[in-house]
Amino acid sequence: MIMESIEILEGRKKQIYQKEQNTEQFDMTCDTKSLSGSVSQRACVFCGSRVVLYPVADALHVVHGPIGCAAYTWDIRGAVSSGPELHRMSFSTDLKEMDVIYGGEKKLYASLIELIDQYQPKAAFIYSTCIIGLIGDDIDAVCKKVTQEKDLPVLPVHSEGFKGTKKDGYAAACNALMKIVGTGSTEGISPYSLNILGEFNLAGEAWIIKDYYEQMGLEVVATVTGDGRVDDIRRCHGASLNVVQCSGSMLKLAKMMKEKYGVPYIRVSYFGIEDMSKALYDVAKHFNKKPEIMDKAKKLVSKEVSEMYPKLAKFKKALNGKRAAIYVGGAFKAFSLIKALRYLGMKVVLAGSQTGNKDDYNMLKDLCDEGTVIVDDSNPVELSKFVLEKEADLIIGGVKERPIAYKLGVGFCDHNHERKIPLAGFVGMFNFAREVYQSVTSPVWQFAPRKGGLG
C-alpha cells in the first residue's frame, strides 16, 4: 500500500517496510551501497573514521588529500575536551594537481614533521581520503618513518571514502586505535574498573556517564574517544570491562580487545531512563563480587529517577499521543529513542537509519508498533512524504533533516553531531523531553502552514 502512494526507486523497494498484522516475511535489504543517483543522506568511510577519532584531543589529526575533505570536517562536532583542543584544528596536505600526478608522500612527510615540531602532540592520526587510494601513496611507510624519527605513534587511518560505508570507517578507526592500546603501563588500575567506549562527549555527555560510574565506586580508565587522551588509551587494556555504546562505532575495538587482552565487553545505551538504568545495572552485575556496587547503582538510579519523574510530567502531558519520525545514523540509537519517546507517550510512525544491519532491523521491527514504516538509507523525498502521510509532529534526525522538518511545519530534535545539550544520562532524558516539547509546542507553528498546507 505505501508502495502505491509513494513512488519508490525500483531498487529501493526492499529497503522500505511497513509493519502490519500477520506479515511474516520481513527481509530488509540493507548493508548495501546506495544506488547511483540517489539523494542519499549517507556519508563516506572517511566521515566514519573522522567522527570516531576526532574527540582524541591531544592527538594531531591530519587529512591527507585535497582540501575539501578537511575543510568540511573542521570542528563540526561538539566533542568537548576538558584540556587540550588540538582536535579542533584543521590540518590538510591540500593536494594539488602535481601531487596527484607525482604522489603526495613527500608532502605528507614534510607536513608531519612540521606539525609535530610545532604542536608536540601525543600521537598523530593520518586519514587517507579517496584520492590517496587511487594515487597509491604508501602512507604506512611515511607513518612508520615519522614514528621512528619523532618517537610517537603516527597512525595511518585507511579511510578512503569509496571503500565502503561509514561503518567501514568506524572499523578503520578501531584498527588505528588498537595500535595504541596496550602500549602503556597498567600499573595501579583497580580490578573494579572499566572503559567507556563509543561515547564521544558531545555537549559533555561522557562526563555525565563517567560521574555515574564513579559514584558506583568504579574506576574509569579511559573514555574512547570522548574527551580522549592518548595516554589513557595506551593503558586502557588494563580495565576489567569495556562498556560499549552504540551499535557500530566501537564494537570492533571491544572485540579486538577481548581477543587480544581478554577484556570482556557489554553493550549499553545511555539514552532514556529505561536504557540508562539498565546500563548501570548491567555494569554492576558484571562486578557482582562486590555487591555494594549494585547497591550504589540502585541508589543512584532511584535517586535520579525520583528526581526526574515529577519534572517530566509537564512534558508527558503535552506530548501524549503526538507522533514522531526517527531517521538517524545507527539503528541502535533508534531503539533507545523509540523507548524514550514511548515513555513520553509519543508514537513512533517512522523509524529508519542510514547504516543499520539485518539484526538491527529485525529488532526494530519487533520494537515498533503496527503501521510503523521502517526504512534503510532513505532520501528526502521519501522522508517528507512519509512524514506527511503519517502526520508526524516531530522528526528526529541530523543536519540535513532539520530544514526539511521546519519546511513541513514539524518539530525537530537533533540527535546527531549538532546537539547542543547533553541527551545522555538521566539529565539527558530531561533535556531530550524539554527539547522535543519546545519544538513540538513552539508558538511559531500557529503562523506556519503545517503538514502540506492542510493543517
Binding site: T93, P449, K451
Partner: protein, 460 residues
C-alpha cells in the same frame, strides 16, 4: 585559547594547510546549479563528498539542499565511473524527475579520468535523457583552484552548453551573477527594475535557498532561471558579469559561442563598485539612472559623513573569496579604514594584482596573500605581529577573534553560526548601508565595552 599554539614567528611551510580559507570546487558547482529552475545537482564521485557539500550548504542557508551522487564503489575506481553515471542519470529522471541534472566531477572521478562530456553524450545517445530534459556538466577537480573555481566552471559550462543565438535580437542585458547570496541577487534585480533595464540574470538562487515556510517540502522550489531562458542568452545585446573570479568565465564563454560582448564588473559592494555596476547597466541597457537610486546613494553618503570619525585609520584584517574581498577592500579604503591584512585561500595572480592596485597607495605595508599556504593560521600570525581593530571574514574567523579579542564581522561563505546573510543584501547602496551599520556596531560596541566609566558616553 583554542589557537594557543599559533606562533608569532612566521616560517615557510612546505605545503601544509592549517585552518583553510577555502574549500573545494564541487560545492561551488553545486551552489551554482541550484540557481537553475528544476535542477538537481549531481556529484560524480563517492557519497561522502556530496553529503559534505549538502551539509555545508544547509548549515549556511538553513534550507534543504538536494543533490544526488554516483555513489562510487571500489569497482568504479578501477573500471571508471561511466556505468555509475549512466545508471544515475537514468535513476534520477525516473524517480526525482528534475528538469535538468547538473553533473560535476570530484577529485575521485577526475583522477580516474572520467570524461563527463563523453559520458553525458552517451547517456543522450542511449535515450537515457527524456524528451525536453537536459543534462549539463562541469569538470571540477578540487586539487585545482577552490570552491570559487567550481562555481565559475559550472556557470561557464552551462552557458557554453545551453546558450543559443536565434534570428531575434532582444533588447536585453545578461547579468552573470557571481557567487552571491539570494539576498544580493534579489537586490540586483530590484536595482535593474528601478532602472527599468530589461535583464536576464543567472544563476538565480532567489526563491530556491530563501524559500518561505509553506508546510511543504518542494524538491524543486519555484525560483531559478529556466533552461529555456538560458537558451536565449545569445540573443541579448550584451552581458555584464559580476565577479572576475566567479562570473567572468561564463561571459567569455558566451561571447565565444554567440558573439555577445561583455563587460566584467566587480560584485557591487560599496560606493564605487556599485557606481560602476549601475553605470555599466545604464549604458548597456540604454536607460537613465533614476532619481530614486541617486537618492539611495545620497543616503549612504550621508550616513558615512555623519559617522566618519569612527572609521578613520581603523586597522582591519579581511579574508574570504576574491570577488568579495576586492570590492570590500576598496570600500574600506573609501571609508578611511586600513585593510592591513588581506588573505584568500583561492589561488590566482589576478587577485594579488588587484589587491595591490587597490591598497598600495593607501596601505603600502599591507600583508596580501592568496593561494597555497594562505590560511587562517597565517592570518592569525599576521595579526599577532600587527594587531587589528576589526576582523572580517566567514564563520571560521571566530576562533581568531576570540583568542585575540577582536571585534568580528561575519562576511562571506560559509556563515554557519549566524543568520541574516541570505535575507539582507550586502550589495548596492542599501547593502553598503548595512555594511556601514555593521562596522559601526562592532567598533562602537567595543568602544563602549572598553571605555572607563568616566569616558562611557551616552551620545555617540
Amino acid at each position: 585559547m583554542l589557537l594557543r599554539h599559533t606562533t608569532k614567528e612566521i616560517k615557510e611551510r612546505e605545503g601544509l594547510t592549517i585552518n583553510p580559507a577555502k574549500t573545494c570546487q564541487p560545492i561551488g558547482a553545486m551552489y551554482a546549479a541550484l540557481g537553475i529552475h528544476g535542477c538537481l545537482p549531481h556529484s560524480h564521485g563517492s557519497q561522502g563528498c556530496c553529503s559534505y557539500h549538502r551539509s555545508m550548504l544547509t548549515r549556511h542557508f538553513k534550507e534543504p539542499v538536494m543533490a544526488a551522487t554516483s555513489s562510487f564503489t571500489e569497482g568504479a575506481s578501477v573500471f571508471g565511473g561511466q556505468a555509475n553515471l549512466l545508471q544515475a542519470i537514468n535513476n534520477i529522471f525516473t524517480i526525482y524527475d528534475p528538469e535538468l541534472i547538473a553533473v560535476h566531477s570530484t577529485c575521485l572521478s577526475e583522477t580516474i579520468g572520467d570524461d563527463l562530456k563523453q559520458i553525458v553524450t552517451k547517456a543522450k545517445d542511449d535515450g537515457k535523457v527524456p524528451e525536453g530534459k537536459e543534462v549539463t556538466y562541469a569538470s571540477t577537480p578540487s586539487f585545482v583552484g577552490s570552491h570559487v573555481t567550481g562555481y565559475a566552471n559550472m556557470v561557464a559550462g552551462m552557458t557554453q552548453q545551453f546558450a543559443e543565438k536565434s534570428e531575434t535580437q532582444l533588447d536585453r542585458t545578461n547579468i552573470v551573477a557571481g557567487w552571491m547570496e539570494p539576498s544580493d541577487i534579489r537586490e540586483i534585480k530590484r536595482l535593474a527594475k528601478e532602472l527599468a533595464a530589461e535583464i536576464l540574470l543567472y544563476p538565480d538562487v532567489t526563491d530556491v535557498l530563501d524559500t518561505p515556510q509553506t508546510g511543504k517540502h518542494d524538491m524543486y522550489p519555484k525560483g531559478g532561471v529556466t533552461v529555456e531562458q538560458m537558451k536565449t542568452l545569445g540573443d541579448s545585446k550584451s552581458t555584464i558579469s559580476l565577479g572576475n573570479f566567479t562570473a567572468e568565465a561564463a561571459a567569455i564563454a558566451l561571447e565565444k559561442k554567440c558573439g555577445v560582448g561583455f563587460v566584467s564588473e566587480d560584485i557591487p559592494v560599496g560606493i564605487s563598485a556599485t557606481d560602476r555596476f549601475l553605470m555599466a547597466l545604464s549604458k548597456a541597457a540604454g536607460v537613465e539612472i533614476p532619481q530614486s537610486i541617486t537618492d539611495e546613494r545620497g543616503r549612504l553618503v550621508d550616513m558615512i559623513t555623519d559617522m566618519q570619525q569612527y572609521f578613520h585609520g581603523k586597522k582591519v584584517a579581511v579574508f574570504g573569496d576574491p570577488d568579495w574581498i576586492v570590492p570590500l577592500c576598496e570600500f574600506l579604503v573609501e571609508l578611511d579604514m586600513k585593510p592591513v591584512h588581506v588573505l584568500s585561500g583561492t589561488p590566482g595572480k589576478r587577485l594579488d594584482k588587484r589587491l595591490h592596485e587597490l591598497l598600495d597607495m593607501d596601505v603600502p605595508d599591507a600583508n596580501i596573500k592568496n593561494g597555497a599556504s594562505a590560511d587562517l593560521f597565517l592570518l592569525h600570525q599576521w595579526i599577532k605581529n600587527e594587531p587589528v581593530d576589526l576582523l572580517i571574514g566567514n564563520t571560521h574567523g571566530k576562533f581568531i577573534a576570540r583568542d585575540e579579542d577582536i571585534p568580528f564581522i561575519r562576511f562571506g561563505f560559509p556563515i554557519i553560526d549566524r543568520v541574516g546573510h541570505s535575507y539582507f543584501p550586502n550589495v548596492g547602496y542599501s547593502g553598503a548601508m548595512r555594511i556601514v551599520e555593521k562596522l559601526l556596531m562592532a567598533i562602537m560596541d567595543r568602544q563602549d565595552r572598553d571605555a572607563p566609566e568616566e569616558r562611557f558616553e551616552l551620545v555617540m
